[in-house]
Amino acid sequence: MPVLSALLCGFIFGAGLVISGMTDTTKVLGFLDVLAIPHGGWDPTLAIVMAAALVVSIPGFWLVKRRTRPVLAHTAAWPTKTAIDRPLVAGAALFGAGWGLAGLCPGPAIANLATLSPLVLAFGAAMIAGMAAHDLWRRRQQSAALLAGADG
């Protein structure tokens, strides 16, 4: 059942991306192009999509939070990190730079794999490589820190 729920939620999420136009990179880049506002060429779609999503998810999450546990699991995996630290800001800054280059963030990138476009597949492969590179780098850092601790 949890697996079926995840499949259904992924499907609804993907349908939302397609219907809203967020799988279209020209609409995403058209929103990010704020210098086009004075010339009337700006595309406000992404702002409307995000606002509509939050109109549902803000009360939705508030209601879900009042429950003691999820319907199909023992515990809810609410995020626990609260620190506004350097990795958060540096990571978000790098992500934004990549997003602005191609107009694809992870959700639309995965949904667009359905088009089998070679350039989208290349983007997906590079994105996974970037994730793997990060995880490898962080594990090396952690083991180096452990070794340094053992020596001291």
Binding site: P2, V3, S5, A6, L7, L8, C9, G10, F11, I12, F13, G14, A15, V18, S20, K27, G30, L32, D33, I48, V49, M50, A53, L54, V56, S57, F61, R67, A73, A76, W78, P79, P87, L88, V89, A90, G91, A92, F95, G96, A97, G98, W99, G100, L104, C105, P106, G107, I110, A111, A114, L119, V120, A122, F123, I128, G130, M131, A133, R139
Partner: protein, 139 residues
Amino acid sequence: MVPFDPVSAAIGGALIGLAATLLMLLTGRIAGIAGILGDLVDLAGGNRVWRLAFVVGLIAAPLALAAAGHALRTPAMPGWPIVVIAGLLVGFGTRLGNGCTSGHGICGIARLSPRSIVATATFMATAMLMVATMRHALL
């Protein structure tokens, strides 16, 4: 280019918010796509089945909509070098910053998390700066 369609944007956005709320209500998981994909492909990660199911649903949706008559359009993309650099930045950045447009932008802001609000403001700002540079400064 598809014309601006605020009704479709609002309906699609509401579906995204609904999917995020349902995933939390039913399975207790955050619908952050970078986190779901990252943990799916992480060799040291566990709990892969639901993550794979979510990703399959995400890819199946455009195909199902195409079968129902909604055109499946190949998105406009930059050239190969830019595509690879952009993909690497998005992958590394979302892992380092613990989230993307969905994890921080939708789920995090829905929880009113200051951390996610800062992350969203940051990636919006650098994305806008990048587009301004690519489209207007390099002319």
